[in-house]
Symmetry: C2
Subunit: 397 residues, 2 copies
Amino acid sequence: MLRKNRLFTPGPTQLLPAAQMAMAAANVHHRTADFRALYSRVLSDLQTFIGTRNDVILLAASGSGAMEAAVSNLTSPGDRVLVITAGKFGERWRDLAQAYGCQVDLATAAYGETVPLDAIAAKLAPETRVVYMQASETSTGVRHDVAGVARLLKGRSDTLLVVDAITGLGTTHFDVDGWGIDIIIGGSQKAVMIPPGLAYCAVSSRTWERMVSAKQPRFYFDLRKERKAAAKGESAYTPATALVAALGAALDYIRDCGDGDLAAGRVALINNAEVAAEMTRAAAAALGLGQFAVSSPSAAVTALVPPGGMDSSAIVKAFREQFGAVIANGQGEMKGKLFRIAHLGYYDYMDTIAVIAALEQILASLRGAQVEFGAGVRAAQQVYARSAAPTLTSVSA
Amino acid sequence: MLRKNRLFTPGPTQLLPAAQMAMAAANVHHRTADFRALYSRVLSDLQTFIGTRNDVILLAASGSGAMEAAVSNLTSPGDRVLVITAGKFGERWRDLAQAYGCQVDLATAAYGETVPLDAIAAKLAPETRVVYMQASETSTGVRHDVAGVARLLKGRSDTLLVVDAITGLGTTHFDVDGWGIDIIIGGSQKAVMIPPGLAYCAVSSRTWERMVSAKQPRFYFDLRKERKAAAKGESAYTPATALVAALGAALDYIRDCGDGDLAAGRVALINNAEVAAEMTRAAAAALGLGQFAVSSPSAAVTALVPPGGMDSSAIVKAFREQFGAVIANGQGEMKGKLFRIAHLGYYDYMDTIAVIAALEQILASLRGAQVEFGAGVRAAQQVYARSAAPTLTSVSA
């Protein structure tokens, strides 16, 4: 049969066609009134999408650039920081803080698990200046307890909370201002359905104060310079104009999903990911597949363990070669041991069912008669029928 | 009349339609064989486009990100460096080196001039670790003498030469390896005709050695990490996939301009910019406009002085409002005092004549009867007729 090019990876995710067209059409100079209006509107829409009144900053970089900004703008060499880590992206926080000469404490758990709050509390020192964590650890498919960590930090006026929500935004409910998340970070190639190349973050008022005394060198990722420029609808350095236009179109689509209300669209998008993730988990269970993230699975991506010691690379390869679909293997030492199917962003019921049916086909090929065709699909359908997920209004161009 | 959206700014420049389409179509994951093949091909084509055998690194950032990389990867706090500056982008080198705690010597000239080589030689100290300069100072339209500075540094084994050629590449001939340019930097929204969001640079072997001892913190812009990943057709952090696809299409177009030879296409593109710049300068002279860059004008952009104390903002505004065309005003304190018309990248004879004719129309509106219609156009036509510029093969889709 035909093989369509489809991404089921937790970033880049499937692109919104209207955003692809907006991106191609954006023959625009960034120091013009038209672009300033677009840029200001995108920053304001991102505030609503994140659900915050804090300043939003957009950077021409991948999400890791915003992670670096959250270290170089907030710390001085020798500062004590706590990194919560149980996966590859937690380890990125550790490496970043070490590259900037911070004294790094670690609260860890095994891959596939989340870090218990009491283990985190035990690692908090009086001098801890920043806590760095993920909302959703993309490498293991685990959701960490951001609200719980925020509660631990209540009343600690000198400890900032920085959350990499690159796959958390659009898949997880956050009360950014209520909980007191000082920096929350997102990326363009995730729930907002456009290609990589933009990072965004929301920054609390006390974080801006911290930057006055923070002593790391910084230039391209200097958040204060960006805030000053953003007030005029500009960026400090040349913005990635085409991606900004794509992001504007994607936020319009998410607003349409909320019947004209972007905050409602955000909730609808999160519910969509939740239902897709639950459908996928139910299908996996029906097919006898183990979940890698048992106790706290993320709605962004489901990490599954192949049956009977099979190398997950064979499953990833079969998806690509037989169906033209890209799913993710495990990262680093998890390669071959798990495979990951994404739900964040532009995926609907039909996508979710299709990827499950393809998985059944692949498992049957690789394992012979042990797979009952339709068992995973049926389990997913039952989840959908029970979920009473509202049908969203918008159908993208 | 209709007003088409056209950019005559020195970045973003007019987009190549084939690249816009490639960008929109790039629904691709970066950890796939297809993308690795694209990425490797783009890096290899960039080598040819730059004209070097040095390693080429691609970054998801604007050009300023690569400038930061050339400071954070090459220096340690307290290092003595020399910045050659006569404009806004030279000042960016100064600010960057200061942000990283370098001891910065300056070799300067007035805006609109280039820095004489003897003034540069006088500022070179035995301990100078890096010399930072522009090939083309976009803010003033001046071309600096990269070959001359490289000659000054011959035999100085401990002094690296870093050239911001963001508007120099594709408008200026460089012998990167012969002259000994240690890092040369380009940006996507310039001669390569695609939107902003990518920076690229070529790095010499002795520069890689310097990085072993350089002590600045660096993470997202860590060039050694990128080189390691590039060897496998990957980037260290998520690449801006859509822009990489666009860049591939643009390099294919430039190859077509050289009848299938990318190095010949580069030469053709440079000659194209040279002719367009000369046409524009001749037209300006015929219209009684002064040039801001008298002694050493760049082929990337022509900076012109409005007649009789007129505010250049009125000309910029008229271009936009009357013809839908965006030209650049002066930057910073040069705002209102000059206007800039770009030649780098995807501009042909018809574009060049059209912008001159529009300028005549605008000057006539603003100044009354003092402008002879067609005088600038005729002067430009005479340059074209004399130039015997070869007609290029490729006509983009």
